[in-house]
């Protein structure tokens, strides 16, 4: 199976999207004969090239971070550039991967509906959407906190590499929490009250010597 992957993160190679894709693709490559090409939307000056890649592909995965509740501006630009492929009969199958900073998968469910419709628009077979919240900050997290869901990405990739499909049950398990549970809410309240939730940000603010300015309101 040949796969074409688009990483839609504005952070390009240094993105969380890249890390999750790495695990997914490792699983994907477990099936002999599989191969992929990976392109970064943000690096690409020539949109025509990306469109060509999409057009020539049999199987596409588009992965991106959630930006203000949907796709970012650059991913929307990419989607707009696909307009010439409208109505073609042999467009690739597409699957999506959306991840966000907030913990709840629910926050990505709205753009998921858009993506499913987009696949329909382009006459693409729709494989589904991998959704995961709570991803901001993973790059500094200890292994024991990330290994479980990294493994899910690997497994999802492995099944996809074999069958060309996303496993529904795995998607559901990976997405947890879909909403915050009562306990989850308590945890977030507690973390906020104690300042625990802010450590991640405050550490960086201090490193940047901007901690005193963190509440600045430059526009009033």
């Amino acid at each position: 199976m040949k796969l074409t992957v688009f990483n839609g993160s504005p952070r390009g190679k240094k993105s969380n999207t890249a890390i999750l894709l790495e695990h997914f693709l490792k699983g994907f490559m477990e099936t002999e004969g599989n191969s992929y090409e990976l392109e970064y939307i943000v690096n690409n000056k020539d949109v025509g090239e990306l469109v060509e890649m999409f057009k020539d592909a049999n199987n596409v995965i588009l992965a991106f971070p959630l930006y203000t509740g949907c796709m970012s501006g650059i991913v929307k630009s990419f989607v707009e550039s696909l307009k010439p492929l409208y109505g073609k009969q042999d467009n690739p199958s597409v699957g999506f991967m959306v991840q966000g900073g907030f913990p709840e998968a629910y926050q990505s469910r709205f753009v998921e509906r858009y993506l499913e419709k987009l696949a329909k628009r382009l006459n693409c077979q729709y494989l589904g959407c991998i959704v995961k919240g709570g991803i901001e900050g993973i790059q500094g997290k200890p292994q024991f906190m990330t290994q479980k869901f990294f493994y899910y990405f690997y497994e999802l990739g492995k099944v996809y590499g074999k069958s060309g499909k996303f496993d529904e049950e795995m998607l559901k398990n990976l997405a947890k929490p879909e909403h915050l549970s009562v306990l989850g809410r308590l945890f977030y309240k507690f973390a906020r009250l104690t300042g625990m939730a802010n450590i991640h940000w405050n550490k960086q603010l201090k490193e940047n010597k901007a901690f005193e300015k963190r509440f600045d309101r430059p526009f009033t």
Binding site: S9, P10, R11, S15, P65, Y67, T68, G69, C70, M71, S72, G73, I74, K76, S77, V79, E80, L82, K83, Y86, F102, P103, E104, Y106, Q107, F110, V111, R113, Y114, K117, L118, R121, H179, L180, R185, Y188, K189, R192, A197, N198, W201, Q204, L205, N208, A210, K213, R214, F215, D216, R217, P218, F219, T220
Partner: protein, 183 residues
């Protein structure tokens, strides 16, 4: 009332005329209107660096036109987002500008309605109410409108405000203007 219009027109004369009429009408009924034609402005797309929270808190580290937009938006009573639908969604030009509003928030997260995580407001005031004006494309159906409206409501929650309407340019301009004047 102070109104800001973020106009994400990609390439569409009819939409331009509609919106210009709307601006005229709103001014006639004593509103002050700041009208940004996003396509003609210099707005670098968000790089996801969080510098607007962690380096130069409250503003994008790049001195582009997003500063002027943030200033108008946060001092408005109402913000109208306007764009044609392209591939079933408001234009990328508009979305690029919307991404650049996150300096109006803080990095810190709180539970909204005791339910969902969202960022805290940076400014200690009511955030402007928002509305969306869209022009349908040839391929737009009612499902698209529903999806776009639902995503817009999510955007409103992220920006700690609420969406007043999603309207389409196939109704008379007067109706949109009246709707805004009722806010």
């Amino acid at each position: 009332m102070k109104i800001t219009i973020l106009n994400g027109n990609s390439d569409n004369r009819k939409f331009d005329d509609y919106r210009n009429n709307l601006v005229k009408m709103l001014k006639l009924s004593d509103n002050s209107v700041a009208h940004f034609k996003l396509k003609e402005m210099e707005i670098r797309h968000c790089r996801g660096c969080f510098g607007c929270w962690l380096k130069t808190p409250g503003q994008c580290i790049y001195k582009d036109d997003s500063h002027a937009i943030c200033r108008e938006v946060i001092n408005s009573d109402f913000v109208l987002f306007a764009a044609p639908l392209v591939m079933g969604f408001p234009s990328a030009v508009l979305k690029i500008a919307m991404d650049k509003l996150i300096p109006l928030l803080l990095p810190y997260i709180e539970l909204v309605d005791n339910k969902e995580c969202h960022h805290e407001k940076r400014y200690d005031k009511e955030y402007p109410l928002i509305g969306l004006l869209i022009e349908k494309g040839d391929d737009t159906d009612s499902e698209d409108i529903e999806i776009v409206s639902d995503i817009f409501v999510r955007f409103a929650i992220d920006f700690r405000t609420s969406s007043r309407f999603v309207m389409q340019t196939d109704i008379p301009v007067q109706e949109v203007s009246d709707e805004i004047n009722r806010i």
